[in-house]
């Protein structure tokens, strides 16, 4: 139910609407719940509404932290 997926904004449209792309699929969604979204931003889309913008830098940091976990403490030093 809370399923939501990250999609990239490809075009801003009138009335708080925008077009997003996800794996080759394009869909019109609403940006009424977020401020300052621009073309190229990733937003998390739920039932046709963007809930929030996705922070690319934080995503990269989280992945880096996760990757570090695989390195055993001895080997990592």
């Amino acid at each position: 139910m809370c399923l939501a997926i990250p999609a990239r904004i490809v075009e801003l449209l009138d009335g708080d609407q925008c077009r997003v792309e996800l794996g080759g699929v394009r869909k019109e969604i609403s940006l009424a719940l977020v401020d300052g979204a621009a073309v190229g931003d990733y937003v998390i889309v739920h039932v046709g509404y963007a809930l929030t913008k996705l922070d690319a830098e934080e995503a990269a940091q989280t992945l880096a932290l996760i990757a570090e976990a695989g390195i055993a403490p001895e080997a990592g030093r």
Binding site: L22, V47, I71
Partner: protein, 391 residues
Amino acid sequence: MKYVDEFRDGTLAAGLARAIAREADRGRDYAFMEFCGGHTHAISRYGVSDLLPANVRMIHGPGCPVCVLPIGRVDMAIRLALARPEVILCTYGDCLRVPASDGLSLLKAKARGADVRMVYSAADALALAAREPAREVVFFAIGFETTTPPTALVLREAAARGLANFSVICNHVLTPPAITAILDSPAAGELGTLHLDGFIGPAHVSTLIGSRPYEAFAARYRKPVVIAGFEPLDVMQAIRMLVRQVNTGRAEVENEFTRAVVRDGNPKAQAIVSEVLELRDEFEWRGLGVLARSALRIRPAFAPWDAEAKFGLDYRPVPDHRACECGAILRGVKKPADCKLFGTVCTPETPMGSCMVSSEGACAAHYNYGRFRDLPAVAADKPVTQAQESA
């Protein structure tokens, strides 16, 4: 898909599994509840439990809107749709198959002639009302904080456009009171049948409400909370963070899902919700019972778009099927396989209880991805030869 595939990487998952095994203290057990059905689904689908050491156990929580929706609310929608032919009842797909009274569901009511339609978005229901001025379009809205802002937006838009033939049955519920109910339950308290060391906090709910609302009960109940995304690596990283908190005696709110969640959430969405909706004094949850201040209703200023007021709908509580264990499963005290109905009469095709309906329900997730783990493995060590067969 960017921001999805990389959080499902098997090699990284194996690394996280090694880290969790290394960091978990062999001298103790860890039991964590994933509140959300989204996490339940990810754990089942990607076999996360199989990657955890035997002393780290996950307990499914009640964070599945379809699962906690009481029968009486679905009955209310069915009664309205059957009694009034002018009504088009719209709802999200998950709601359609929830078992209600008299062997009905919204889908079966449709087979009896009610005009029930599935929508992808609340906005689709509003658009339908604009296209069909001679009909009454009623949106049966369910969901936690994630799904609430779109409902608030369409109500506001209906009011602004003066769309008199649109209304909403509001069933939106709140996450923090449900977590509190679990921590206050006798099972977690004097009965001691529910041992909990911490929570994996909601992903998308938290994009809206932020991480701040969990701080009070992390402190009050001394239970760590780690907010995590819905991908398997997010879940595993959160488990690792919880293990670390337990090991060091901390009970803090930490955020693994920093790519989408900030402490204060989404203030714009919060403002829209509080403009249109307000707290209900109480609301019945399946499994958790009647919880005070745990759900939202439409503010009096928007009463013309409140279907409960407009059509004089009344709520009549209905007990669950006697053999159905959904209630205990939602409270975390039983597992799907403990239910006599599981996998026999109750399957995703013919659900008896709500936890078998939505793919994120604990029973449906276990049925789809884990039910064969309950059966003993039978080794077919010798190939059967023709001679043996004829013997």
